[in-house]
């Protein structure tokens, strides 16, 4: 063995004094496109929605959420792209060089208005934040499809066989109205308020929780969110992380506490204080937003932009707050 090589075996290699950082991320190329007549430059890979938001151009969304994969199902974010046969969903369509986008053309406003009318005529949107304003902004008139049909008995809609339905007489407009499902202590499922945005399925699945307790079942107007064979949640794979509630845009999924307070008429959002804190349970350090009404925690969420949670929590952070309300502030209660 030559002496040049021998030192490799006798001396450890010199340590770098600097902790290597991640390789530099190349700045994405910019793409130029036209939005509503003005030239815009955005990073390649952005969606039309990203590009619009960067320019403060308002695009309504329902099924879109920053922390979930876009499913572009609600179609309320459609925009017109020159040369395209149909409108395109801004939430998922990536920008292309030279694209000419119209976000408020007559065609765009028409489809958005119809989407809102179709939803509002078939779904109870009374607890969906921001939707009333959207209906106003687009001049939507859901009543023109006729009076709402009476609600279906519990479970009836879920039982419809795909490809079969009873033809309506047209006198009333079919809806998804049905009784609220209350099968556990933590949250309720009011599918009369479900717009089928797929967000809860995504949050339960690969986008957050990887529990896969729920999926879309049925087809067409009878499509609905369900566990296998409509099994009640306590017998399903649900782990009560409540991330489905966190992403629900209409209040179809709701803390049982909120549901009961609303029923009792005591829910008062204006009187609620929101306080951010760190979850006390484990060492992960999730940011919690406590919604406090009259000194009592009534709901727990997490900010979408919280770096650890991205809005998602576990069962303890989400629901494990009731001890705060029992027993007062000292440990000696009842002891």
């Amino acid at each position: 063995m030559s002496s040049e090589i021998a030192h490799i075996f006798s001396e450890p290699p010199a340590r770098s004094t600097r902790i290597p950082g991640p390789p530099p991320v190349p700045a994405p190329a910019e793409v130029e496109l036209t939005i509503d007549g003005s030239l815009v430059s955005v990073p390649a890979g952005s969606t039309i929605l990203d590009a619009c938001r960067a320019r403060s151009i308002e695009i309504p969304t329902l099924c879109f959420l920053e922390n979930l994969t876009p499913v572009n199902a609600c179609r309320v974010c459609v925009v017109e792209v020159a040369g395209a046969r149909t409108l395109v969903p801004a939430c998922s369509r990536r920008v292309e060089s030279g694209m000419d986008v119209q976000t408020a053309s007559e065609r765009v406003r028409h489809s958005r208005r119809l989407v809102l009318e179709l939803l509002a005529s078939s779904v109870d949107l009374s607890t969906a934040p921001g939707v009333a304003e959207m209906l106003d902004a687009y001049g939507a008139d859901p009543a023109r499809f006729g009076p709402a049909a009476p609600p279906a008995p519990a479970g009836e809609r879920d039982a419809h066989q795909p490809g079969h339905h009873h033809a309506s007489d047209g006198a009333s407009a079919a809806t998804v109205a049905q009784p609220v499902t209350v099968d556990n202590d933590l949250y309720i499922r009011d599918y009369a308020k479900c717009i089928l945005c797929y967000k809860c399925v995504e949050a339960c699945g690969v986008d957050a929780q990887n529990t896969f307790a729920i999926a879309v079942a049925g087809r067409g107007f009878d499509a609905h969110i369900s566990t296998e064979y409509a099994t009640p949640l306590p017998a399903s794979a649900c782990v009560y992380c409540g991330n489905c509630i966190g992403v629900c845009p209409t209040g179809a999924l709701m803390f049982r506490s909120e549901h009961e307070m609303r029923a009792a008429g005591t829910w008062d959002e204006a009187a609620q204080a929101r306080t951010d804190t760190i979850c006390p349970y484990c060492g992960v350090g999730c940011t919690l937003t406590l919604h406090v009404q009259e000194g009592t925690i009534v709901k727990v969420t997490s900010p979408l932009d919280a770096s650890i949670t991205e809005g998602h929590l576990c069962v303890k952070g989400r629901f494990g707050f009731t001890f705060m309300g029992r027993g007062g502030t000292t440990a000696g209660d009842g002891a």
């Binding site: 149909t86 047209g170 879309v216």
Partner: protein, 640 residues
């Protein structure tokens, strides 16, 4: 919280159904025992187990066929074997019309009540059945049988039609047409008494009867000069020798000889446009897939022919199956893919049987497999069956269905040539498109391009049905007028006036008698605001109830919408309600209000739906109003 015990286990029958498809489990990951009982860890194998998800539909088919419905324990067993969450698989099972997740009698007659069968008296058949065996869906004949209404079964030339499914250890699926209620009841009774439905019908008719039988579906069969249908009725569809003797496999031999680029050049030069409805240039599609870097690429043949009024692909699969095998093989070699999927709708049992037979024989003879005709090239074809979902004819929904998911269309872009089946570059073509391929490759694209018109090259198949004496599949050179086609089928049925024609099926366009001179080419129909679509020419005479027909079309779209996007999911419902009000003479507000509503719905569905189903769901209905075939009564305004 209450203790929840485990659900009951799947029955031996259910487990067998699943295991026949999947084979014995290899270890813990696919539902078996731990592979290494000596304390080995099951740390690997999850990916492999989950990669078999695409077998979910075959497994669900197997359970449905053996047991008659898919119980929760059966589904959970299938889920354990395939490593799929039960809720997810339940969503899939609940998507397809031919799967049932509630108990259902083993014998089912699916009776077509769609547009053409209605003209042939399907409503009477249903009414008679209701009297004879009870309401649709209710168990009858001692719980052994039931009947259900069905959308178009693709046998419009012999309407009315029915599909019989018999669950058991020897399951059967048979399509029959024409049928009447007495015949259906007789079959149900005989089957309930334990008899086989009919002998397995893969066997072709005896040679001397073949042509006469085929002519009931293809009246031109046997005539000289046909280019697409020239073997139909002439050759024995089981015989590879017959196929080769009739010029078969010349195309594949030439393809191997000249190589990939030359094949694509010929197809491009032919000017062949896709025959499935979208009329995309086939050569351009193939070139795009071939140019995609990275492997694998896939070849998919769309035989989910579900457009009401369409039955040409069925006839081709039943009577000329090797042509499809040859064409797919050429396509595979040309686009650099070694694996093809042939997706056939479940309502075509004979097509599936004949294709499976042709695949086996072709493989044995070296036309498929690892060394095709000694070229060292490889291609294999697998048949996948739909399960009762029109939307799966949409190419991206079809991919999802093959992948074992709900048949929900994907947003495009990305297009299939970049990201198709399993997210890989995929060439997907319709049966009729493909059947043109061997001839184009063997004889050159120029010969094909010399036929037809400037914008529509080659020959074309049309499915003529309804009020004509000789409905069936007809081949013409592009350029024939609508009137020419109706004349070919014998004109309007005796003594009646032509009222309307539905071009392109349920997603097509109604035209009135003034359109008889319309040239049925892509360019002329487009200019006239009509469509060829999949080649449907549905003829209605003066006896037709147009409003009832429109309501059936609207009901079809409401049933077949996948439910993913709002404009289609709710729009199809509102459209059907509007037509009900038209039928009842009780409009909401004035006639103009209703017409505005229809136009608004149509525009939003066309503009904002994800896929072609929603985009065309109002097409036929709006066109009927445009053509003046139907109108809201003006006097109703006074009442409103």
């Amino acid at each position: 919280m209450d203790l929840v015990t485990l659900a009951p286990r799947a029955t031996p029958d259910e487990r067998t159904a699943v295991d026949v498809v999947l084979g014995a489990p290899a270890g813990r990951w696919d539902g078996g025992e731990r592979a290494d009982p000596e304390g080995g860890h099951t740390s690997s194998g999850g990916h492999a187990a989950r990669e078999r998800r695409h077998l979910l539909l075959p497994v669900l088919h197997a359970i449905q066929a053996r047991v008659g419905w898919i119980s929760r324990p059966a589904l959970e067993y299938a889920c354990r074997r395939l490593s799929i969450p039960p809720a997810d698989a339940y969503g899939v099972a609940r998507f397809y019309g031919l799967f049932s997740t509630t108990p259902r009698p083993p014998i089912v007659a699916h009776v077509c009540d769609d547009v053409v069968c209605r003209l042939a008296g399907a409503e009477d058949v249903c009414a008679d059945l209701e009297r004879a065996v009870g309401p649709a869906g209710e168990p009858a004949l001692g719980g052994e049988a039931t009947w259900l209404r069905s959308p178009c079964l693709g046998r419009c030339e012999r309407a009315p039609a029915a599909l019989f499914t018999v669950a058991g250890t020897l399951p059967e699926t048979i399509a029959a047409a024409p049928v009447d209620a007495a015949g259906i009841v007789r079959r149900l009774e005989r089957t309930a008494a334990g008899r086989r439905l009919v002998p397995a019908r893969i066997d072709p008719d005896p040679d001397e009867e073949r042509l006469a039988n085929v002519r009931r579906s293809v009246p031109q069969a046997g005539r000289p000069g046909l280019r697409i249908l020239h073997r139909v009725g002439i050759i024995n569809p089981l015989s590879l020798d017959d196929y080769v003797a009739a010029g078969g496999y010349r195309g594949l031999r030439r393809a191997i000889e000249v190589g990939r680029e030359a094949v694509i050049a010929e197809v491009t030069a032919s000017g062949l446009l896709g025959r499935g409805g979208a009329a995309f240039p086939t050569g351009r599609k193939w070139a795009a897939v071939a140019a995609q870097p990275g492997q694998p690429h896939y070849t998919v043949c769309n035989a989910d022919e579900s457009e009401p009024g369409t039955f040409k692909d069925r006839v081709l699969m039943e009577e000329d199956p090797y042509a499809i095998v040859e064409a797919m093989t050429i396509e595979g070699l040309a686009t650099g893919s070694s694996r093809g999927f042939l997706y056939i709708r479940a309502e075509y049992p004979l097509s599936a049987a004949r294709m499976a037979h042709a695949l086996a024989i072709a493989r044995e003879a070296g036309y498929l497999g690892t060394d095709i005709l000694g070229s060292g090239q490889m291609f294999e074809i697998e048949i996948r069956r739909g399960a009762g979902a029109y939307v799966c004819g949409e190419e991206t929904a079809l991919f999802n269905s093959i992948e074992g998911k709900r048949g929900e269309p994907r947003n495009k872009p990305p297009f299939p040539v970049e990201s198709g089946l399993f997210g890989r570059p995929t060439a997907v073509n319709n049966i009729e498109t493909l059947v043109n391929i061997p001839g184009i490759v063997a004889d050159g694209g120029a010969a094909f391009a010399a036929l037809g018109t400037e914008g529509s090259r080659g020959p074309k198949l049309f499915c003529i049905s309804g009020a004509v004496p000789h409905p069936g599949v007809y081949e013409v050179e592009f350029g024939a007028s609508l009137g020419d086609l109706i004349t070919l089928a014998g004109g309007v049925s005796g003594g009646h006036e032509l009222r309307a024609v539905l071009l392109g099926g349920a997603s097509g366009v109604f035209v009135g008698p003034e359109a008889l001179d319309l040239q049925l080419t892509f360019e002329a129909t487009r200019a006239a605001g009509a469509t060829i679509g999949s080649g449907v020419v549905m003829v209605f005479d003066d006896r037709v109830d147009i409003v009832a027909t429109l309501r059936r079309v609207a009901a079809f779209f409401r049933d077949e919408s996948c439910g993913q996007c709002v404009p289609c999911r709710v729009g199809t419902v509102r459209q059907e309600e509007l037509l009900a009000r038209l039928a009842n003479g009780r409009p909401n507000g004035s006639a103009d209000d209703e017409l505005a509503l229809l136009a608004d719905l149509g525009q939003a569905m066309r503009d904002a739906s994800i896929c072609g189903l929603g985009q065309t769901a109002s097409s036929a209905i709006e066109s009927a109003f445009r053509a003046g075939l139907v109108a809201f009564p003006r006097q109703a305004e006074a009442r409103a």
